[in-house]
Amino acid sequence: MTTSLKLKDLSKKEMLLAPGHRMCQGCGAAIVVKMVLLAIDKPVVACSPTGCLEVTTCISDYTAWKIPWIHSAFENAAATMAGVETMYRALKKRGKISQDISFVVFAGDGGTYDIGLQSLSGAMERGHDMLYICYDNGAYMNTGTQRSGATPFGASTTTSPAGSSVPGKMQHRKDITRIMAAHNIPYVAQASPSHHLDLMRKIQKAMSISGPKFINILSPCHRGWRSKSDDAIALSRLAVNTCYWPLFEMDNGKTQLTHTPKEKLPLKDFLRPQGRFAHLFRPENEWIIEQSQTQIDADWNAMIGAGAGASGVIEE
């Protein structure tokens, strides 16, 4: 039976991520992991490559995980999990294990878009039964905000600093969700912690499907985004409502929006509270906002045009 997603019921479940972890106050990644673990009902084995989540949940002799969890190198979380899943299948076949176990990777955008991409692509292509979750905070935050393939156009990072030479990062984000969909795996989705019911339903749906699954989840980081410690949920909500981060799923290749904002807000509303975009509001850089807005509108209209209209209204 799948776990009820009513908060009253969930609050009675054992929390599988313990407090005492060293994520910064107000970290979006902690909220994402918490929601994912709450939504899963089977015993789960997880793996994380190097990244914020890894260094902060497992310091020296202390772990925040209450599930078996493996730290792999930056480039091979998917390969590590593929190995564990293969061993599990072999032991099951030999009758040495009877339990149903699910396998989840929690990786940041650095470990997914960039450094871990080849092992991720391989594991998806080989069809391992696992859910790969990318908590996307849009830069290498653990080492102090270096730009990654997920960093948005125009964002200032320590390796794309906005100044007189460049106005922030001059490349657009890699569309990792579509890259994963191009592997023709059974389930790909994008989610945001602001829309928790949508997020947890996607996790449960992914868990009910065998084979490789990929979910990209927006994970605000106020240190790197240069915003406030209390705005992780507020910013992820703005990301959804400006269509910067549309909520959709691709179930066996069919794209479906799972949420349509009541009112599509201008991208500026998402950018303005974040210091990493402050320079974009100077007159000489406004073209960057305009270009980003045009891109977002085009992507959104393409999705609607392809018949991906929202399947149902999901709560705010």
Binding site: S11, A18, G20, M23, G26, I31, C58, W65, A232
Partner: protein
Amino acid sequence: MKTKLINQSNCRPVITEPGNSALLKTGTWRTLEPVLNKEHCINCLLCWLYCPDMSVIVRDGKVEGFDMDYCKGCGICALECHGKKGEKAILMRKEEKE
């Protein structure tokens, strides 16, 4: 040459006590503290769900308060609380440290 097991050295790659991070009290990081006013609480439990530090205490579906051993004072619970009739049930205030 015999393979030397890594756990025999001082570096311990395997932690056998799940969730022992709870021994590390992160409450000392706080400068602001959340204050609950139960009269305005509708027990929607959003604060419980959104708290990154598992620090909102819920019993039988009702918010009881905060776990100050771990609460880092981020303020997400207060910002996201709708409360009753526009009156928030959680407000942040500067913590008086002894």
